[in-house]
């Protein structure tokens, strides 16, 4: 009669011991992300370098700033804003573009590089699963780089705003107009929205595909990433005289913004822009893309298990 009452807490204790490290131990994931940043210092150095170049260039702009402001005052409201905010928009676009390029190269190299330098044997000698490793690597383009891009843009443009204000105040022009026309912080929220909707969510399958190719290719991951989609497009064009696949690719690269906000074709940093998060979340393309990204990432983890150094 004693046995069943003893058995229950024992098995309960056992299951707790077995499951808790799996569920609660996020340390391997955390340290795997840290290790990516040790290896790929360009993840933060490249956007920082661009920010440095932008700030240096802005010093030249500052000489003309009083003149530009006087000219802008003669324009209509819309034009006035565009003229004043121009350098800020360029700065944001450059940093975001740099982060995007770094994302592409990082995703293509990371799982290929660890096989090329044989370090995969070292990483695999530690109790970190392939899935944890792949997810940590996916975090870099999907989360870390957009966040870095945002923080660096915010810091750069804040410095630009302060420098601009100082120059205008020194030449007796209205700093208030400058601030109200720029609307820097509402614009920053737009940038954040754009980064989350487009760079994190809409482009997720793109990065996941690059990671998969990086895990799989024995050589030339760039060609393996680019040529198969190109071949499918060309095959479809010649065999069926249709371009559905090309349209699909175009949709993936540009479609996110069409759903995410109402300003099509313009740079997405107009404070007057109308955000449509509801429409974005209701776009099937978003969810199909995310599902595809999940499939690619699981496949990448699977492939990594089979792969040996090259």
């Amino acid at each position: 009669m004693n046995t069943p009452s003893n058995a229950v807490p024992e098995s309960f204790a056992d299951s707790k011991v077995v499951t808790s490290p799996v569920l609660l131990d996020t340390r391997p994931f955390y340290w795997s992300v840290r290790r990516e940043l040790w290896e790929y210092r360009s993840v933060y150095l490249a956007p920082l370098a661009i920010a440095g170049v932008i700030l240096f260039g802005f010093l030249v702009v500052l000489f003309h700033l009083p003149h530009t402001m006087r000219y802008a005052m003669t324009l209509g409201a819309e034009k006035q804003r565009d003229t004043i905010a121009e350098h800020f928009n360029i700065a944001a676009a450059l940093i975001m573009g740099t982060a995007f390029i770094v994302s592409i190269f990082y995703s293509l190299d990371t799982l290929y590089g660890e096989r090329r330098d044989r370090s995969i044997l070292f990483w695999k000698s530690l109790p970190v699963s392939d899935l944890t490793t792949v997810l940590a690597k996916a975090t870099v383009p999907l989360v870390i780089l957009p966040i870095f891009a945002f923080v660096i843009t915010l810091a750069t443009e804040t410095v630009m705003l302060l420098l601009g204000s100082a120059v205008l105040a020194a030449s007796g022009l209205s700093v208030a107009t400058y601030w109200s026309q720029l609307q820097l912080y509402p614009t920053m929220m737009m940038l954040l929205y754009h980064l989350v909707t487009v760079h994190m969510l809409w482009y997720a399958p793109l990065y996941a595909w690059l990671l998969l190719v990086s895990a799989w290719a024995r050589r030339a991951p760039f060609l393996w990433a680019v040529l198969p989609p190109l071949a499918v497009g060309i095959f479809e064009r010649t065999a069926f005289h249709t371009m559905y696949f090309a349209a699909l690719m175009h949709y993936r690269f540009s479609g996110g913004r069409e759903a995410a906000d109402s300003m099509q074709g313009n740079f997405p940093l107009n404070p007057g822009m109308h955000l449509t998060p509801g429409a974005f979340l209701a776009t099937p393309g978003l969810w199909i893309g995310l599902a595809l990204a999940a499939v690619f990432l699981f496949a990448a983890a699977r492939v990594r298990r089979y792969r040996e150094p090259i």
């Binding site: 391997p28 840290r34 040790w38 370090s119 044997l121 695999k124 109790p127 970190v128």
Partner: protein, 291 residues
């Protein structure tokens, strides 16, 4: 307790058979030397044990299936692969930090203690270290892990004699405690012979010989025989004979030491000598079988 247990382990690469039905059993607390020529299947066997390669057959390492449970297995298993695999961009302090971060059984103070005895600086990058120092670093990381099985695949390849000696000395003195298991493959067999408790010969994907070192040493004897005593010695049926400097060295299996003492200088042979003898005999045997 059994540390590694394999039954009918097979692995093929296309038409090449790397492992041809290997049965293997390694008890805990042993230091096993896996000896074999290039391409014999040593590394493939180790890769299967470490969950780095899929295989056919049954394999349990510390109760885990290595292929499907590599990450759990690696809490209890460490390995140093055949060449330096620490990435060149890695900083020494980061390497320690990372292993401390992901490995529940890593003793950071211990690793730093080992490193303090070397010339390796904490803020050096792996690319700035010599090959010997990289191995020292890897060994410091591995020895600070309280693992139950350590796998070494040609750990000292390309190192000079001082580093090689130091490597095995620290392994024995600072690491091995008779509860841990070590499996090592190496071409420098003489250097590990005194370290091993067991030896296993592998050839063409099969285990051709296995023995504890005690048995090995009591079983095999080598005698250097002068030409005039050669026929008397040959009468005792040596398993192998090789000429050296006008004399002959004859290898005997299970022949009484007293009988051999009269024929010449008797000594315990090196693992490599027995291995060569066995390998050349088995290749003759294989030829005989095909005729």
């Amino acid at each position: 307790m059994t540390c590694i247990e394999a039954r009918g382990l097979r692995k093929t690469f296309g038409a090449t058979i790397a492992l041809d039905g290997v049965d293997l059993r390694v008890e805990e607390g042993r230091i096993l030397g896996l000896i074999g020529p290039n391409g014999a299947g040593k590394t493939t066997a180790l890769n299967a044990i470490l969950g780095l390669t899929p295989y056919q057959g049954e394999l349990k390492v510390l109760g885990h299936n290595p292929w499907t449970e590599r990450d759990q297995l690696m809490r209890d298993v460490c390995f140093i692969a055949d060449v330096a695999v620490l990435p060149r961009w890695l900083r020494v302090s980061h390497a320690v930090e990372f292993v401390a971060g992901v490995h529940p059984r890593f003793d950071r103070a211990k690793a730093e203690g080992f490193l303090a005895k070397t010339n390796i600086r904490q803020n050096s990058k792996v690319r700035e270290l010599s090959k010997g120092m990289v191995t020292q670093l890897h060994l410091a990381l591995v020895m600070a892990i309280d693992a139950r099985l350590l796998v070494l695949d040609e750990p000292t390849i390309g190192l000079d004699i001082l580093y090689r000696k130091q490597f095995y000395d620290s392994l024995l003195n600072d690491y091995f405690d008779r509860t841990r298991t070590i499996v090592v493959t190496t071409h420098q067999v003489e250097e590990v012979q005194h370290v091993l408790t067991d030896v296993m010969f592998i050839n063409r994907g099969r285990i051709v010989f296995e023995s504890s070192m005690e048995d090995f040493e009591s079983r095999y004897l080598e005698v250097t025989v002068r030409p005039e005593q050669l026929s008397a010695a040959r009468a005792l049926k040596p398993i192998y004979e090789r000429p050296t400097l006008g004399r002959s060295v004859l290898l005997f299996d299970r022949v009484d030491r007293q009988k051999l003492a009269g024929l010449g200088e008797v000594r315990t042979p090196g693992i490599a000598d027995v291995f060569v003898a066995m390998l050349s005999n088995s290749s003759h045997g294989a030829q005989g079988a095909t005729i």
